[in-house]
Every structure is written in structure tokens, then in C-alpha cells.
């Protein structure tokens, strides 16, 4: 990324540039869209939410007296009659990470004003997210079918069920919200709202392809959080 052109302002490289930007008037992050800056700060706040969840989980798992269930058994799928550990979760993770890739491409084509490609890629991202949520629903129902509940767990400590449903549920909610917005943005892209600078439904701001990048930030964040949840729940 190259620096934006700002009249009467000369960018400096490295830390000197950072200090100069911070000490300057009007904006601290030069040329950064308001919505983009907002999304970064929101994600910082959201990071704290997920950190609190995961730290609570570590504390809960560390201090329980009853053994934690063996995750490679609990989360395994049967292919024929052989249990394959982490099969479903591997597919889920693959789908979600792939959707991050399509999202990144959508941002690229958006800035190139390639409306069609951008729209299709957002749609692909949305479908990836939807697949993820669907597979998560499948995993939930499998565990519920086996008797795991937020308040009980036949395989060991009951906190397993509590934390699993709460944290994956909270993450799944994030994904679902993302999917809803992806569909809306795909619609807006195809309709050309970003080319025409059409105003949003609730905001006074003009449509701009930067909005796709902002949604992309959220989407990548949700994927990144999933990597941590994956590591802490399925690999620990």
C-alpha cells in the first residue's frame, strides 16, 4: 500500500512517520476511512471479549476436579466404522479459511471497480460462511444427540459442555451476522450502489468500495478467532 496523497503534507517513513502523523492535525491515521478506523477499534474491543471467554475457559478447564473429556474422541466422526478424529472440524476450518481468501479477492476486485467479480466473490464468501454455520449446527446436534448439554456432559467435566456451546455459539453468532452482511453487500455490489455512491439505509455516508474492505476486516477477524478456538478446544 502506498501513502495517500494529501495536499501540504509530506509523509515520512518508519517510526518518524508514525510520530509525525500522531503529532499532526486533523487525522492521526492519514487517509484512513472513518469506518475502517472504527472497525479496527471495534475489533480490538471484540478481541478482549474473546480473550475473556478463552481465559475463562482455560481457568475452568484447569480447575475442574473431574477429568476433561478426550477431545479427539468426542469430536471424531465415523467414516464407515473407523472413527476419524477432527475430520469435521478440519473441513470446517478449511471452508472458513478459504472464505477468507475469497473475501480478500473481493476487496481487490472492488477497488478495481470490477463490480461483477467483486459481487460473485462476496457471494462465495457468504456461502462459505453459511456452510461453516451449517456444519457447526451439525456438530452441535451430534453432541446434543450424544447427551452433551450446557449443564451436563456424559464424557466428563460438565464445564466442557458449558464452555463449548457458549464459545462456539458466540463465535457462530459472529459468523452468522457476517453472513447476513455479506449477502446484503453482495446485493448492493450487484446493484451498483458502490459505483453510484448511493447512500446506505441508515447512514448519511455515501457508498464506497471501502465498505467491502471494512466488512472484510470483520470477516478475517472472525476467521482468526476461529483459529484460536480451534486450537484451544480441539487440539488441547
Amino acid at each position: 500500500m502506498s501513502d495517500p496523497k494529501i495536499e501540504g503534507y509530506e509523509f515520512k517513513p518508519g517510526f518518524k512517520g508514525m510520530a509525525q502523523d500522531t503529532g499532526s492535525d486533523q487525522t492521526m491515521f492519514k487517509g484512513v476511512h472513518w469506518g475502517k478506523a472504527m472497525m479496527w477499534i471495534f475489533l480490538l474491543s471484540d478481541t478482549f471479549i474473546f480473550s475473556c471467554f478463552l481465559i475463562s475457559y482455560m481457568k475452568g478447564r484447569g480447575s475442574t476436579l473431574i477429568d476433561w473429556p478426550n477431545t479427539s474422541e468426542v469430536f471424531s466422526l465415523h467414516v464407515g466404522s473407523t472413527p476419524v478424529p477432527l475430520l469435521l472440524i478440519a473441513i470446517m476450518t478449511f471452508v472458513l479459511i478459504t472464505s477468507s481468501g475469497t473475501m480478500a479477492l473481493a476487496v481487490k476486485y472492488g477497488y478495481e471497480k470490477n463490480r461483477k467479480m467483486c459481487g460473485w466473490l462476496i457471494l462465495a464468501t457468504a456461502i462459505g460462511g453459511l456452510t461453516f454455520v451449517g456444519m457447526q449446527a451439525f456438530e452441535w446436534s451430534k453432541l446434543i444427540h450424544e447427551g452433551v448439554r450446557p449443564w451436563e456432559n456424559p464424557f466428563g467435566a460438565k464445564q466442557f459442555g458449558s464452555f463449548f456451546f457458549m464459545i462456539t455459539g458466540f463465535h457462530g453468532t459472529h459468523v452468522s451476522i457476517g453472513v447476513i452482511f455479506l449477502f446484503i453487500y453482495a446485493y448492493k455490489t450487484f446493484k451498483g450502489h458502490y459505483d453510484e455512491e448511493k447512500r446506505g439505509w441508515f447512514t448519511t455516508m455515501k457508498g464506497d468500495y471501502v465498505e467491502i474492505e471494512i466488512l472484510g476486516l470483520y470477516w478475517h477477524f472472525v476467521d482468526l478467532v476461529w483459529v484460536f478456538i480451534f486450537a484451544f478446544f480441539y487440539l488441547w
Binding site: 499532526s24 492535525d25 486533523q26 475473556c52 450446557p150 464445564q159
Partner: protein, 615 residues
């Protein structure tokens, strides 16, 4: 729909007006010394409401939203005040409070605490003053996301509604204490253990969601929407205080949200996040394996920064008020800024000093006592700087200044008792006594409240265009100030003799005899202080009708909010052109200047003869 967008094209016009291109000549109309970089952000499109509903109810003007926040927070605060009256009635004159059971008392304690800390002080400082002052002080037309800002207020509105609804559900509001410690918060036997605590958690989650929307607005407005010439180090300390407090809130409220959510699940679904194995009347409950202390950690990771979320805006505001009314630049502006930022940063590493007696690892106490006492350094720096600002100032001893002085005294008082409680060995015998009550009411109840009062008297002429009455204001101040000391000074003594907090009555303990008279005295003082607030309400109503018109910049202040073309400022704040800033807002009594103040928009060429500092 009659939506209309107005795009003022001042951006283009401005950028060409004030630049004198080329280094040496003065080719434009503006001298080189006054040169300010052209605008780099385009003009903001604003939504102007046309009907009563879009202008005053679902309004997108930050100033109106600020006033809405202020009024709703004050209304909630008055409920908190009435609850404190009921508590004092029970403590001072139990025979007159026959209608009150122990359950009622605990519910009132809980709701009083939660209302005052979250729904009154936080909402008032950040939602009220933040919304009103940030865009005006940094020179923007509005908050950067006006629609989000409106939703923020209405989330707060719903949060307050849910909170107050808990008074009317079966079992009443929760009586678990404002810290909501499990397991007792959701076990039968605690008042409001079913619906009460549920509504409390929901209300808090709504509050956090609403606040996040507002907080993002404050931060981005300050970072990305300042006017030309407004650098971070030229911002009034009020903005610095609110800015840092908002960062704290954005990082601390997540812990409350998570704690509240997990408690809700424990309550509704029967999970055991915080619930250990519990024997009740000889029977083992369904719960088991959870960690109550985990909730305490989550709660106080929010709870301690929360103290500074309330205190930092107060620090900032009081710095501005003192500087304006002592006609002197704030002593050590940069030091003040770094102290605010430093206190904010440190506040995330001290939370477990609320938990010395919780049974956590004793080494934690050692660590947290150290970090806690380190906070005394930046805080003391601020107090010295306020005093040095007053020193040899041209002090106007008006009501605003009185509140500021009251703040300094009260804050120092509360801060010193904080040194007692920050040390583990001294804290242990004082834990859960009235000494703690006295400490935190002084330091984060009365002291920030004094700043709020000072700020009301200071900015009322801007908001309403009229001066509040000085004479009534002085009555209000002295009754509140002396009254507050009459309430909280004796409480220190009660704490030393070991009177425990949160007790419905004292029964036949040996210290009762000496505590009874004192409790009666405190209660009477509390009734008087509460009633004294009616003076302010009367003063405001009276002023709105017959108050002295204030006109432009009535206090001869420098900061931008006083320099709007119309008083009170209109939507969009600045009329046709945004202001251009040339200096910090503290150029008071500059040697050589014609007047004793130089506004932020005064270009250097106009004050070339003076000994003004370069800022």
C-alpha cells in the same frame, strides 16, 4: 420521507483560502506565520431532522444526544439518590423504617451502587459531556457516525428501562450487592435471585452494546475528524480525559459483558461457570465444579478501569475549569496528558486489589499492592499541577471555581484513604467496613460529582444561553460540600471501630453504642445533601425563564466550544466554515496581550507582540 442531505462544499473553498504557497513571499492574503495545512478530510454530510421526532427524539445531532444522555442519566441518578435515602433511613432511624425488610435493604444497596457507577456517572460523563463537548472542542461538525450515536442513546434508554423494570418483577431487583458475586447472586435466599439478576445482566449487556457504539464514535471523532490546526497536543484536557476513559471502557466492558453472559447462563440454563458444589439444607445442588473467584476476576477487570472511566473525564474537565477561572494556563499540560494516559494504562493492572480477602494466592496481593501504589504517582502529579495552576492565578471565586476547589480537597482526601486500602496488611482489617464506603464515595462518588456540578455551572451558559444564578449556586455548593463531608468523614471512624458494611442492622455488638449517634448524624446529613440538589433543579428551571443572558464566550475562555457563530450552537456547529486552530486552549494572561485570553482561533500574526508560547 423528507430526508434531505446537505453537502456544504466548504472543503474546496477553505483549502484555497488560507494557504500562502511559496516560502518567502506572502503571495496570499494570509501571513506565513498563520499558515495552516489545508483540509484533508471532506466536509461531513449531516442529516438535518425536520419533524419533532427527528429533531428532538431520534435525533442525530450529538449535542441533542448529549443532553438526552444527561437528562436520562440524571433521572436515573435521582432514583439512586432516593434509594440511598431509604438506606440511610434504615441505618439511622430503623424504627422509622418499619416498612423496610432486610431484603429491601439489600436490593436498595445493590441498585444504588449499580445505578450510580454505571448508569449515572459513566453515562453522564461519556454519554453526556462526551457527546456534547467532543465535536465542539475538536472542531468537527458532529460525531463521525451520527446514526450510530443515536442508536447508542436508545440502547442506553432500553438498558435503563430493563434495569428499572426489575423493581416490578416477582422477587424484585437483585440484592446481591453491586458486585453481583456468585454463587449467592443466583441462589435462592438472595433477593431477586431469579428475575432480578437476570434483568440486571440483560440491562448491563445492553448498556455495553450501546456504549460500544457511542465509544467508537468518540474515539474516531477525536482521532480522525479534528479541524485544521487541531493537533492532539492542542486538545483541551477535557477531550483527553474523555478519550482515554473511552479507550478504557472499550477494553474493560468486554470483561463485564462476558461475566454477565456467563452468569446469565448459570442462572437460566444451569451451567456451572461460577458455581462450585453447594450444600443447601443438607442437599447437594445440581451445580458443581465452577469457580466463583473467576467471576471476581472478570468483574474487577472491568470494575477497576471503571473507576477511572469515571475519574479521568473528571480530571480533564476540572483542569479546564480551573484554568479558565484562574485565568492561567494549566501547569504542565504535557505532564497532565501523560498522567491521564499513564493512569489509564496502569488501571488495567490493579484490579485484584479489590480481592485481597477473596482467597486468591497471597503473592497476587503483593503484586497488585505494588501496582496500585504506583498509580499514586501520576495522580499526585495531577493534584500538584492543579494547585500550581491556581498559584498566583487571577482567581475568580465563582461557583464553578468553588466546585473545583471542593473537588481537589475531596479527591485528595479520598486518595489518601486509598493508600490505606491499597496496602494488603492495612486493607485486611479494614475490608468490608465503612472505611471502604467512605473511601470510594469520597474518591469516585463525591469528587467526580463536584466536577459534574462545576461543569454544569460552567457550560450551562453555552447549552442554554443563560447564566445559572450565583447566589443559589453558592447555597447549593456549601450545603453539598459540607454535607458530603458530614456524611463521609464519620464513616472513616465507623470503619476504624469495625462497623461492617452491607449490614441491615447492627444488633447488639459492643461498638453499637458509639455508632448509633453517628449513624443518626450521617443520615440527617444525607437527607440534607440530597434535598440540597433541589436547589440546582430550581436554579435550572428559574434560569431557563429569567436567567441573565450569557452571550458569546461569557467566561472569556479559549477553547472552540465557546467560539461558535451562534449560542447555543446549532446543528453543524460552525455555520459556513470550520474553525482553524493556531494554539492550545490555555493562553490566559499572556504578557503583552491586550486581553487576558487568546482564543484558539487567533492567528499568530494578531498576537505577534506578545510573549505567547509556541504550542
Amino acid at each position: 420521507m423528507s430526508d434531505e442531505y446537505e453537502n456544504k462544499t466548504g472543503y474546496q473553498a477553505q483549502s484555497s483560502e488560507t494557504i500562502s504557497s511559496g516560502g518567502g513571499g506572502g503571495s496570499g492574503t494570509v501571513p506565513d506565520a498563520d499558515h495552516v495545512r489545508p483540509a484533508e478530510i471532506p466536509e461531513q454530510d449531516l442529516y438535518h431532522g425536520h419533524s419533532f421526532i427527528t429533531k428532538w427524539i431520534f435525533c442525530q445531532d450529538a449535542k441533542v444526544i448529549g443532553v438526552q444522555y444527561f437528562l436520562l442519566a440524571t433521572f436515573t441518578g435521582i432514583i439512586g439518590l432516593i434509594l440511598s435515602w431509604l438506606m440511610r433511613l434504615q441505618l439511622g432511624f430503623p424504627e422509622a423504617a418499619g416498612f423496610m425488610t432486610a431484603e429491601h435493604y439489600y436490593q436498595f444497596v445493590t441498585m444504588h451502587g449499580m445505578i450510580m457507577v454505571v448508569y449515572f456517572l459513566t453515562a453522564l460523563f461519556l454519554g453526556g459531556f462526551g457527546n456534547y463537548l467532543i465535536p465542539l472542542m475538536v472542531g468537527s461538525r458532529d460525531m463521525v457516525f451520527p446514526y450510530l450515536n443515536m442508536v447508542s442513546f436508545w440502547s442506553f434508554f432500553v438498558a435503563v428501562g430493563v434495569l428499572l423494570a426489575s423493581f416490578f418483577v416477582p422477587g424484585g431487583p437483585t440484592g446481591a450487592g453491586w458486585t453481583l458475586y456468585p454463587p449467592q447472586a443466583i441462589l435462592e435466599g438472595t433477593p431477586g435471585s431469579g428475575m432480578g439478576i437476570l434483568l440486571m445482566c440483560i440491562s448491563l449487556i445492553l448498556f455495553v452494546a450501546g456504549f460500544t457504539m457511542g465509544g467508537l464514535n468518540y474515539l474516531i471523532t477525536i482521532l480522525q475528524a479534528r479541524t485544521r490546526g487541531m493537533t492532539l497536543m492542542r486538545m483541551p484536557l477535557t477531550v483527553w480525559g474523555i478519550f482515554t476513559a473511552t479507550i478504557l471502557a472499550m477494553l474493560a466492558f468486554p470483561a463485564l459483558l462476558v461475566g454477565g453472559l456467563m452468569m446469565t447462563l448459570d442462572n437460566v440454563l444451569g451451567t456451572s461457570f461460577f458455581m462450585p458444589t453447594i450444600l443447601k439444607a443438607g442437599e447437594v445442588l445440581e451445580y458443581g465444579g465452577g469457580s466463583p473467584i473467576l467471576f471476581q476476576h472478570l468483574f474487577w477487570f472491568f470494575g477497576h478501569p471503571e473507576v477511572y472511566i469515571v475519574a479521568l473525564p473528571a480530571f480533564g474537565i476540572v483542569s479546564d475549569l480551573i484554568s479558565v477561572h484562574a485565568r492561567k494556563n494549566i501547569f504542565g499540560y504535557r505532564m497532565m496528558v501523560w498522567a491521564i494516559v499513564g493512569i489509564g494504562g496502569l488501571s488495567f493492572f490493579v484490579w485484584a486489589h479489590h480481592m485481597y480477602v477473596s482467597g486468591m494466592n497471597p503473592w497476587f496481593g503483593f503484586f497488585f499492592a505494588t501496582t496500585t501504589l504506583i498509580i499514586a504517582i501520576p495522580t499526585a502529579m495531577k493534584v500538584y499541577n492543579w494547585i500550581l495552576t491556581l498559584w498566583r492565578g487571577n482567581i475568580r471565586l465563582n461557583v464553578v471555581m468553588l466546585w473545583c476547589l471542593g473537588f481537589i480537597v475531596t479527591f485528595v482526601n479520598g486518595g489518601i484513604t486509598g493508600l490505606f486500602l491499597g496496602n494488603v496488611t492495612v486493607d485486611v482489617p479494614l475490608s468490608d467496613t465503612y472505611f471502604v464506603i467512605a473511601h470510594f464515595h469520597m474518591v469516585m462518588g463525591i469528587a467526580p460529582l463536584m466536577v459534574i456540578m462545576g461543569a454544569v455551572y460552567h457550560w450551562f451558559p453555552l447549552v442554554a444561553g443563560r447564566f445559572l444564578d450565583e447566589k443559589l449556586g453558592k447555597w447549593h455548593f456549601w450545603l453539598t460540600f459540607l454535607g458530603a463531608y458530614s456524611i463521609y468523614f464519620p464513616m472513616h471512624y465507623l470503619g476504624f471501630i469495625g462497623v461492617p458494611r452491607r449490614y441491615f442492622e447492627m444488633y447488639d455488638s459492643p461498638y453499637v453504642t458509639s455508632a448509633v449517634g453517628m449513624n443518626e448524624f450521617i443520615s440527617v446529613a444525607a437527607f440534607i445533601v440530597g434535598a440540597a440538589q433541589l436547589i440546582l433543579i430550581y436554579n435550572i428551571i428559574r434560569t431557563l425563564k429569567i436567567g441573565k443572558p450569557a452571550g458569546h464566550n461569557p467566561w472569556q475562555a479559549n477553547s472552540l466550544e465557546w467560539l461558535t457563530p451562534s449560542v447555543p450552537p446549532e446543528h453543524g456547529n460552525w455555520g459556513e466554515k470550520l474553525p482553524v486552530v493556531h494554539r492550545w486552549p490555555y493562553d490566559f494572561s499572556v504578557p503583552g496581550a491586550k486581553e487576558d485570553f487568546i482564543t484558539q482561533t487567533t492567528p499568530p500574526s494578531e498576537v505577534a507582540e506578545t510573549e505567547v508560547e509556541k504550542t
